[in-house]
Symmetry: D2
Subunit: 139 residues, 4 copies
């Protein structure tokens, strides 16, 4: 549902931002990753062998923080003159998502929630990368 | 997609939280409302008669902040002993969503983004209310 | 330093919000509590008997989320007509701060970071309560 | 007060993070910048010539989002193996703070709140830069 809403927002934004579909997917993937990472951190806290999952909890919380900021900032249009800021933001978000996906993947066989989280992080990295490539294309 | 991911997280959480479907819908509606309110605030900033939309921008940002906190906190299971905290949190989130929906509705005829945002706020208030009613039911 | 900056902001805000000193202290205590709760959650994750601190980690993260929203919303002036929303927000923040202070206090003898965090939560609850009492005073 | 609390947290963290003083200043400057940027965005919304301040409002909100994520992530210790992530995060935060400081500086003569905010952004960029330089030093 949220994907539908965010697309409708961009279609009705007075600035008529280009690439509305790709921006919408980027924002939606970021907030989906916030949800999944926050929930994975909590699920890890309930596991018995929690001491093996502390690094995963920390990366989950880090990734949620970066994705929250990225989704928030990408929701604001009209960044003319700030392309470099956004490119660095997206690159940073991709790096955190990949690091978190990689840590989660280490526990994915034993913990289904880590598998779900690894998938959400990978999907977010891909959506941010698509956004980044689109921004870098000659207009 | 995010709705699917958050449901899968709750199904694989070691605490086996009851009402996983209702919690998932509540969390997902909160983050959807964060997205929509953030985007509506920005769309308002691009409108010509911005001075009529300042109250809307402020309520959008307030509502996004409360929904972000609510979605984050509801993602953590095992709140035994803290039912009162959660009930007050949900009641507060519902109140902000309704206030923002009501302000957005005033501008909905002229600005489609305000209509989309009013709908997302109303949906979030309903999902939080369903969660609240479920928590208050005798176990 | 942040306390000084936020006071200077309110003194230069065109709305001339009343009670600038009390609002500033409330906002600053909220963000101080965000910092302390976030750091306490992380310190708990590094303790040996982490399984006794899981409830503390969760309340730390909950309290940080609520204080972040409260500090953010209190930073926006001109809430005429929304006094009830703010009162419920502050009351909710106070309740989370007290619950977190109480949980941290249980571990304060063994873990100095829990003592520091309990103090920050108590200070935030007091600053929010002072704000709440000020709002309820007849103008 | 918050600066004192965050220092006390790092002194009592079981990991004994090196450079506790510099980390504390970095975190505290980030949250101070969140407060100031959030308040500056709101003060701009109350100015008469708001249409000249829309870019400032947007950068204020962007900068607050990035500083919130950076302060949050820097509060988690034990990032062995993730130095590159943190360096990119800090570099990104510095870039947003400088962009926001520069935009605020354009309005600083007319609006005292923009001057206060430009100073907070500059201080945050400096504290993050000091952190970055410290991380890059040979151990």
């Amino acid at each position: 549902m949220s994907a539908v809403a965010v697309r409708a927002m961009f279609r009705s934004h007075p600035e008529k931002p280009p690439h509305a579909e790709i921006i919408s997917r980027c924002i939606d993937s970021c907030f989906s990753c916030v949800e999944t990472c926050t929930a994975c951190a909590d699920a890890c806290l309930s596991e018995r062998e929690i001491e093996h999952l502390v690094a995963c909890v920390r990366l989950n919380l880090d990734c949620a923080a970066v994705c929250n900021a990225t989704g928030n900032i990408m929701s604001r249009a009209n960044k003319a003159g700030h392309r470099q800021l956004l490119e660095a933001l997206l690159a940073n978000c991709i790096a955190f998502c990949r690091a978190c996906a990689s840590e989660c993947a280490r526990h994915a066989e034993r913990h289904q929630h880590c598998q779900v989280c690894a998938d959400a992080c990978t999907a977010c990295a891909e959506a941010c990368n698509e956004m980044l490539n689109t921004m870098r294309m000659p207009a």
